[in-house]
Structures are given as C-alpha cells and as structure tokens.
Symmetry: C2
C-alpha cells in the first residue's frame, strides 16, 4: 500500500491516472467527499497540479463518466435483438452498481460525454439491426431512457440542443456533419424527427408523448399480467443469502 503510493508519486501525472484515481476515490468514499484537494492529496501532488490535466472539476466529472461507461461490455453479436439488447443493458447495470455514484453524476452533466453518446448510438444500432423502424426505435429509446438505461429522460434530447446552443449557423452545420460521422444512428434519428411532416423548425420531439408512451406501455403490461392472474412463483433460482 505505502509502496504503491511511493511508486505512484514517481510516475508523472497524466489525465488517465487522475481520472482513475478519482473513480477509485468516489467508489471508496462517495461522490460527496470527492474534492480537488482531496484527490490531489491522494495522488501525492499539490491541488494545482490537477489543473494541468483537467480544466476544472466539471471536466473531471465528465472524464470519470467516460471511464465508467467504457467499462460496459461491447454488444455480443449472434442472437435475436432482444437478447443482445438485454445482455448489454444488464452489463451497463452491473457497471453502475460497481460505481454507485455514477448515475447521479451522469444525470448532473449538462451535456452528454462522447462515451455516453457512443453507448446510445450503438444501442440504437442494435434496435435497428433487429428490424425496428426508425419511428419505433425513437420512442423505444425514450422509454428505455426512463431509468433502465441508467440515466434520465432528458439526456437524449440535450445531445442535440445543448451542443448547438449559442453557436452560429455555419458552425452548427459543421458540428452536425461531424456528429453524423461519429454517431450515424443518432443523426439518422434526429434527421427523421426534423423531417416529420407536421414539424416546425427545431421541433425535435414531443416530450409529453414520449413520457406517456413509456407509461402506457408499462400500464398495459401490468393490466395484462393482472388479467392472467400473474404470480412471481416462476421466479428464477435464487442464490441463498
């Protein structure tokens, strides 16, 4: 332990070491006690040294989110779309259970990090590959965003609007093209929403409708189970406590 600290002090600080130390500290002591000063102390450096690798605390938190999201397993190919999506989401859940501060931090970000966008993009791709229409995939992503994906509803909307706020039109177009290159499925979805026959400029999508879509889907499911006299007796084998 003391040896590790010694060794760590000798290795020159870099962004990756800063982020991993921050994740470890948050895992161990909780996100509320993660401070720039405490983190610096843990790394055996003066607080100011951190500011060479992250612009500020917000960027540190962004970086920590990317580390965590990077731990989610890549999609496993082969089976039907439901199994593939299911496996991926269960992997994400395991990751978020390992880093219990992560959901809260992800939801607190004002705009999603690249790693989060990549995760969402590949998730959309899995639905599309499974044969779901663009239209259905759009609403499905919103419904999943509730909490099963690990973060909140509004995140998905913001990936568009926040990035393009207070920037001139030309820069926006460039950003959009860059985005389409990196995240084709997100771009495809955004495009459809924009070309919607009833849409006015920048309408994007109807939050209220998305919310009710998820709600009604669940409620109808509950009612169906109710009518069938559903019971949890057919629960999978439980490991003993």
């Amino acid at each position: 332990m003391a040896q590790q600290v010694e060794a760590a002090r000798r290795v020159p600080l870099n962004r990756d070491r800063v982020l991993r130390a921050a994740v470890a500290l948050a895992d161990d002591t909780g996100i509320e006690s993660l401070s720039m000063r405490r983190l610096a102390q843990e790394l055996g450096v003066v607080p100011m040294a951190l500011y060479k690798h992250v612009a500020n605390k917000e960027q540190l938190l962004d970086g920590m989110v990317d580390v965590v999201v990077g731990e989610i397993d890549p999609p496993a190919g082969g089976s039907d779309w439901k199994s593939v999506v299911r496996q991926r989401i269960l992997s994400a859940r395991r990751v978020l259970l390992r880093h219990r501060w992560a959901s809260q931090v992800i939801e607190s970000r004002t705009s999603p990090t690249p790693a989060v966008l990549e995760y969402l993009d590949s998730m959309i791709g899995m639905f599309r590959a499974g044969g779901l229409s663009l239209d259905l995939t759009h609403h499905v992503m919103h419904a999943m965003g509730s909490r099963l994906l690990g973060f909140s509803q509004e995140l998905f909307d913001d990936s568009q609007s926040n990035a393009s706020r207070s920037v001139d039109a030309e820069a926006q177009a460039v950003a959009r093209r860059q985005m389409a290159g990196k995240y084709p499925h997100i771009a495809e979805l955004a495009m459809t929403a924009a070309h919607d026959e009833e849409s006015t400029v920048g309408r994007s999508c109807d939050d209220q409708f998305e919310f009710e879509f998820a709600l009604d889907l669940l409620l109808d499911g509950f009612e169906r189970l109710r009518q069938q006299g559903w019971t949890s007796a057919n629960r999978p084998t439980k490991r003993p406590a």
Copy 2:
C-alpha cells in the same frame, strides 16, 4: 417587490416561510446556487437565524421535498384503476417539471421523507383497489420506480432498511408498528416480502429480479409493437409550436 421584501422582514420567520423561500430560490436560480447564506440573505436575516427552523442543510432539503410532493394532486376517484393511476402520475410529472431540481434532490435523500412515503403509500393503495394482487403490486411499484414515478429504484427498498439501521431490536419493532399505522399499504407489502417462503432474515426483495421484471415488460411490449408494424401516426393532436 421591494414592498414584499419589507413586509416579509417584519413577519417572524418560521419553518414554512423558510421552506417556501428555499423552493422559490431553487426554482429561480437552480439548486446548485442554493446556500444557507444565500437563502438567509433572500429572507433578510442573518444565516444563523435559519438554524432555529431547520437543523441543517440536509433537513432543509428534506423539507423542500415535502413542499414539492405536497403539490401533487390527490387521487381522483371514480374511474378504472389505470385512469386513476395515470392521472396521478401525470400530476406528479407536472409538479416535477415545475421544480426541475426536485428529482435530483429526492434521489439524493438518504431516506425518504414522510411526504414521499405517503405518496408511495397512496399509489400502492390505488393498485390494490384496482384488484392487483399484493405480489403483482410489489413488482409493479418497482417497475414504476424506474423513473416514471420521478425518482430512482432504490428509494423504495431504503424506506425499510435505512430507517432501521443501527437501532436496537425493540426500537425497531416500535418503529415498524408506527410505520404500519401511518403507511398501511407499505407495511402490508413489506410483511409479504418478509414472510416469503424462501426468505432468510431481512432478505426483503431481489433487486435483480425487480430490474429484469421492468426491463422484460418493456422489451416484450416493444416486440409486440414491432410485430404489429406500429407507427406513431395515431399520435394525439399536437398543439402548434
């Protein structure tokens, strides 16, 4: 405006005025800029004056949550259970949209406030009155907790475990009886979980199973829509932008 501030200064401070001012300040300037010092300034008092009405900032946040949850409409009787639940949840959503900081604060509480417990209790009561079995209601509440209820999955579990941590057995029993009096439906549910044939002491419930229940319910719903060639063309009338 200046008159209001003058008048407010004359009225003696009480807990209710402190909480309402805190809610208004969070609504206006965001939760991150709500500080004890700033709130005191807004009320025209010295920071220390607040500590006569709330023990600390955590208790202030608890009180703010109760104010917000108190704004949710009471259940409207009469119709089928789905309409009743639907209306209530849509009311809760409207409230949380008015106070955009609230979800985050509710999820950050270490144990649920009385108002939140009351809200959950009456929600359970609505499902039970609709004819859902205790068993089904249990899983339904977990599935709803995802995000549609406005706060996270784990909250519901903690209402039991957190309250009874590091307290002797006798005090626990008293607390349980008090709880059963105030929140009969929660108590009923907790009881069933405890008497589950396979349960060991304090097993409460299988988080993993609850998560997958919600997940599979949604996924099966998506697949059904997919097979039906679902489209959002039958969307309700949209108000123009």
